[in-house]
Amino acid sequence: MPNFGIATNNGQGATAQKWATCLEPINEGSCMSKLVVATLAAAMLAGSATLTWAQERVVNVYNWSDYIDDSILEDFTKETGIKVVYDVFDSNEILETKLLAGGSGYDVVVPSAYFLQRQIAAGVFQKLDKSKLPNLSNMWNVIMERTAQYDPGNEYAVDYMWGTTGIGYNVDKMKEILGTDEKPNWDVVFNPEIAAKFKDCGIHLLDAPTDIMPSALAYLGLNPDSHEAADLEKATDLLLKVRPYIRKFHSSEYINALANGDICLAVGFSGDIFQARDRAAEAKAGVTVDYSIPAQGAQMWFDMLAIPADAPHVAEAHEFINYMMKPEVIAKASNYVFYANGNKAAQQFLDKEVLEDTAIYPTDEMMQKLFTVTPFEPKEQRVLTRLWTKIVTGQ
């Protein structure tokens, strides 16, 4: 069978060229009809490609939005002949709902480790066939040890990217208010006297107890992974004290709000804040955003590649995961998205600005202070959610 995946791409390439000539005003008259013909031709090629999918090898991937360099997928298809059907989500909850309902049709999905653990318990995933994953030898044991807390023996998943939950801030405002160039620590959020100074400037927190409570516990010197009601009450009291200074609890709005200079501080995911930093720099409106891993310690999170139990293309899924563990490939992904990956061998292929940025790859000393947290049992989760509603709404 000829590879129609590539043939279709050629068709689209031709269309793009026609578009280019169409932009020249002289060609205007006849151009439109040519364009229509080209588009139809491309559509027909795409249609015939659909018909041949049954014989073609396919892998259906469901990953976070803006989380890969597209050329990696094209290279994978060129190398293996497996077509990648790539679909994206923007929250763990959406992914989880699809997985729990069953029959999602996806072969590779990318939940965060915290969600992965409870999904494994629900029987969502199948064990990886490690004999088909020779590139596992490239993985970084420091990260593997941590992900094993969620998935003992790393039986079900391998790390794609990882990061931290820390503080994104407006550099100039921070200096203006605190009078220092030093990177902020948890005091700016959890110390009521200091947080009060940022009230008018604006503080956003992630709207999920499992993202914020562990950091509050760490600030109090308690075990960040504590599920004890007494500890959680203490963290709740702390958060209620700073509640009046927090403008909003929301898990994505802070990216734009930081980039536009609408707020000064946000507790958010490292990668999101790098995105805000880049957007602010592109806008050239005088806003500078930076990210700090607070000195008192921060939560680490991991996005994991896993195969659903009912995946239709198991062999292709393994090939895809194995490909993503190639050092050059995953390094290319990290260089594109500015996240750290769990692949030791990949580090030699990383751009300097990624590998040497301690906000992405923290120093060994800082790594010691990063903590992981484990999921709550359903009954504990209910208590936690209720405490959170009390913090957020006052009810």
Partner: protein, 303 residues
Amino acid sequence: MAKLASALVNRLVIIVPYAWLLFFFLIPFFIVFRISLSQTTVAMPPYTPVFDLAGGLAGILEKAREFSVDNYVWLTEDALYFNAYVSSLIIAAISTFLTLLIGYPIAYGMAKAPRAIRPTLLMLVILPFWTSFLIRVYAWIAILKPEGLLNQFLMTIGIIDQPLIILNTNSAIYIGIVYSYLPFMVLPIYSALEKMDHSLIEAAQDLGCTQVSAFWRVTFPLSLPGVVAGCLLVFIPAVGEFVIPDLLGGSETLMIGKTLWNEFNANRDWPVSSAVATVLLLILVIPIVYFQNVQAKADGERG
């Protein structure tokens, strides 16, 4: 023969809306209701009991004994749910009232406009639908934020010297809902007013009504069906609104949509969230059915 055929066609025409209701309302509702009687568990799907048709009727009946109303009892034990329902109803009622206040004059003006420009006006009302709802709500963030367009404008013309804090408050939610649902209020009122016979107003004025009293004693009562339809079209979706309070509202705004989201996604408790949804539906359906009955009776008496 022709009579029989047309009777058959009539039947078929009636079947379409009933089939619609069956497939897109009743069956989904029963699925939700059935989950609300289940218990949450760590599995796929995350509730029990799950029916296996292979077990036959006896097997299904056996499993059905596991159903319980525990989730509904749970909703009464924490004031959170009651407060969330009440707060959603209040926000929806205020928004509906504001939408009516703004929508009625617009519809009135449209119905009184020269016949030739009415289609244009109608299109202008529908025009915002050509842009995605989400993008329009996002646009309001840019308008309402402290350094946003509205504050900049008001400060430039010197009405205020400190930016108004509107974004992330309930005022922003009202603005968002009124803006988004205005066409649903304007269109039914316009259609009621447009059909009205203008000679009735002339008759009222001949009989001594002033313009104002003619409006309140003739025009407004005749437009009531449009007003009621418009209010329901705004009120019902506003109660369960999730996107507008999430993007424009503050975190302290308690609405049932968010409570349901928490139950479903944070607690992964599909049964309790189904119970929340079922109760919400009952809260909305009972007054509507009651209202329809009253109206049908009134129509019957008049006829």
